[in-house]
């Protein structure tokens, strides 16, 4: 009733032409608010099911992904477990000062970045070469068999890989030491020898990742139209030249995307590789400790919330900046390959 009176009162102000037009549900008031509500109502009526469908995912992502982002406040607190986020004392940048005053900070940063850089370059190069060579193999059955075997390490957990390596490097009776003994050389405790680990870890990482990574590149290569190759052949190019001028440019797109991703994650070490494979051997820490293992050990072994969260925030921020930076660089060079 009240609404009818309201509308009647408003209608008095309308221009003469439409003042006396009959009221019906079809007339839209000029007030945009009503229009807006109507739009929303229509949207809800049409699409409510979609919102309901998205809801579980939204909730899960909110609780387990967005909330922890706010939890970075811990990096700025002297966190007390009982008091929680809101009761712990705020200490500003103290945790970071503590962290960067230790030599650990430099060691883990250096380890993480250097290992990642080498691994990215080596693994990508090997994967691309593997894909290109595998593409040439005439027997498709053989190629599939080879690909299956090369993919195998992807299905092993890091612990299983560490067990496998243990068979080789075990102290008393590992394969390597047995070999040394039979050759008359002195056996060594490999899990305490720092010098072998950089190379070992890089090689293990290649063993684990090259096969699976080559899949994408192989798929891209098989997608290249054979007309290019035939035209090149007619022009007299041999296989190697064809590879250089046809295959590689076609791989540029996917390689760029991969590279951006890798640079964005250069601050994130492969936790399984660096924690499990060296069997958590303390004497190797200066060459095997990366940011992720440092955070884990600080949290688990020492319950040092402050340092580990400072390291974690350090990792997130730098990683994020690197990713944006890498994307910006790519946007400058060839915009169609940028991620956003």
């Amino acid at each position: 009733m009240k609404q009818v009176k309201e509308v009647a009162r408003r209608r008095e102000k309308y221009p003469d032409e439409i003042k006396n037009l009959p009221l019906s549900r079809g007339i839209i008031s000029e007030r945009w608010k009503t229009m807006f509500f109507k739009k929303v109502a229509k949207h809800i009526r049409d699409y409510w099911a979609l919102h309901v469908m998205a809801l579980p995912g939204v909730i899960a992502v909110f609780i387990f992904s967005y909330l922890p982002k706010f939890g970075v406040i811990v990096a700025f607190q002297r966190f007390n477990y009982k008091k929680g986020f809101f009761g712990s004392k705020f200490v500003g940048l103290d945790n970071f000062k503590f962290l960067f005053q230790t030599t650990d900070a430099w060691i883990i940063t250096r380890n993480t970045v250097c290992y990642n850089a080498v691994m990215i370059l080596l693994n990508t190069t090997l994967a691309v070469i593997l894909a290109m060579i595998l593409n040439e193999v005439k027997s498709k059955k053989l190629a599939k068999y080879i690909q299956t075997v090369y993919m195998m390490p992807h299905f092993l957990s890091a612990t299983a890989v560490s067990m496998i390596l243990f068979c080789f490097l075990a102290d008393t009776n590992g394969l390597v030491n047995s070999l040394y003994r039979s050759l008359g050389w002195e056996t060594r405790n490999w899990y305490m020898t720092k010098s072998i680990w950089p190379v070992t870890l890089v090689l293990v990482s290649s063993w684990m990742h090259v096969g699976y990574s080559s899949i994408i590149y192989l798929a891209t290569i098989t997608g290249i139209s054979p007309e290019y190759y035939e035209a090149a052949m007619i022009d007299g190019a041999n296989r190697i030249q064809q590879a250089r001028y046809i295959t590689l440019p076609h791989l540029r797109a996917i390689l760029t995307i991969m590279l951006i991703r890798s640079i964005g994650s250069i601050f994130y070490g492969d936790f399984g590789l660096f924690y499990s494979v060296p069997r958590d051997s303390g004497s190797l820490f200066s060459v095997t400790n990366v940011i992720d293992t440092y955070i884990f050990r600080a949290l688990k072994n020492e319950a040092n919330y402050g340092m580990s969260s400072a390291a974690a925030l350090y990792q997130s921020v730098v990683g994020f900046v690197l990713m944006i930076g890498a994307n910006a660089v790519v946007t400058k060079i060839s915009p169609e390959y940028a991620m956003f």
Binding site: H43, Y47, A49, H51, M53, A54, P56, G57, V58, A60, V61, I63, F64, S65, K69, G71, V74, A75, Y81, G84, I133, V137, K138, K144, Q147, Y150, M152, P153, H154, F155, S157, A158, T159, A160, S162, M163, C167, T172, N173, L175, S178, R181, Y212, I215, A219, Y229, M233, I234, G236, N238, I254, I257, F271, G272, L299, K300, Y305, S309, A312, S316
Partner: protein
């Protein structure tokens, strides 16, 4: 431009069906041989582990690990079967979390991917960015730990395996691409004209056509759950809730982990067996049990993994 001297292969005409633009049979043989020989790099370590698990402890001590063990025995496995309470528990945990986690993940993610794939939906961009932003930088291990433990009560709780990993940006993109490439928009419009609601469309149209996508992501989830081992290290104390891979990790550090599971309920005989459990061959035997199932299964699903990887990376 006059065509340069055409460099056709010398083999044209000599070998029937030989396409001129392929490498010569000699080169083909060389690379095939090298690549196949290199498969040994992958096979030999696995075979080594299997061999060690079948070796007698004495031969391990005196002759060391070897690809060709002189004394083989099933005793390690027999030991494990008899006294493997911890192993059985861990296997139960791994299998349960794999099945439950995969099913729940697939349900939530496929629903979400439908929402994100439906082009006519005005709020689509919001949901896409919502997920994207959550993936580009993370709050870190510590924040997650505190939230999970102190506020959500997930310490020593089975659900820690499933809930945090329910949604993955990468997988949803793959699912979305699947929907967009395999189901034409006209199908949606026709269904809408016929008066179908979104739920009807999803269950009656999308799901049946979508099986390949579900299989791919399902496989990713299965492999992920099976091999995941670091969550329990941080969150779980109760040995009964430890999955197989974490058990393997703990045994690496301390063989006693095997023996400590509820000592009260073990008979005298069982405890004696455990006391004499050989360390190294046991470790390898458990590695074998933990890995062989998935190694035997994955070759049959190879094409799903390949398809999933390519779609995910190209569109990601």
């Amino acid at each position: 431009m006059e065509a340069n001297k055409v460099k056709t292969s010398n083999y044209v005409g000599k070998h029937k069906g030989f396409k001129p633009n392929e490498i010569s049979p000699k080169a083909n043989f060389i690379i095939s041989f090298i690549l196949t020989a290199m498969t040994l790099i992958y096979l030999v370590p696995v075979i080594l582990v299997i061999m060690v698990s079948f070796s007698t402890p004495e031969s391990l001590t005196y002759k060391g690990y070897s690809l060709f063990p002189t004394e083989l025995t099933l005793s390690t496995y027999k030991f494990l079967l008899k006294s493997g309470k911890q192993i059985a528990d861990s296997y139960k945990v791994t299998i349960t979390r794999t099945i439950l986690g995969t099913v729940l993940s697939l349900s939530v993610m496929s629903l979400y991917s439908y929402v994100v794939a439906y082009r006519a939906f005005p709020a689509r961009k919001f949901y896409t960015y919502y997920l994207f932003v959550s993936s580009i930088f993370s709050g870190g291990l510590v924040a997650s730990y505190i939230i999970n433990v102190r506020y959500l009560g997930l310490y020593d709780n089975f659900w820690i395996y499933i809930l945090p990993g329910l949604v993955s940006w990468f997988n949803i993109i793959i699912l979305r691409t699947f929907i967009q490439t395999t189901i034409p928009d006209s199908l949606f419009e026709a269904a809408k004209i016929d008066g179908a609601g979104d739920f009807t469309i999803f269950f009656r149209i999308v799901l049946p056509l979508f099986k390949a996508g579900l299989a791919t992501i399902g496989l990713f989830c299965v492999v992920g759950h099976w091999n995941e081992w670091s969550t329990a290290l941080l969150y779980i104390e109760n040995p009964k809730l430890v999955p197989v891979q974490t058990m393997l990790q703990r045994i690496q550090q301390n063989i006693n982990f095997l023996k400590n599971n509820s000592q009260m309920s073990q008979t005298q005989e069982e405890m004696l067996i455990l006391k004499n459990l050989p360390t190294e061959s046991t470790q390898m035997a458990i590695t074998v049990i933990a890995t062989v199932p998935i190694l035997c299964v994955y070759p049959f699903f190879q094409k799903y993994f390949i398809k999933g990887m390519t779609i995910g990376s190209v569109k990601g």
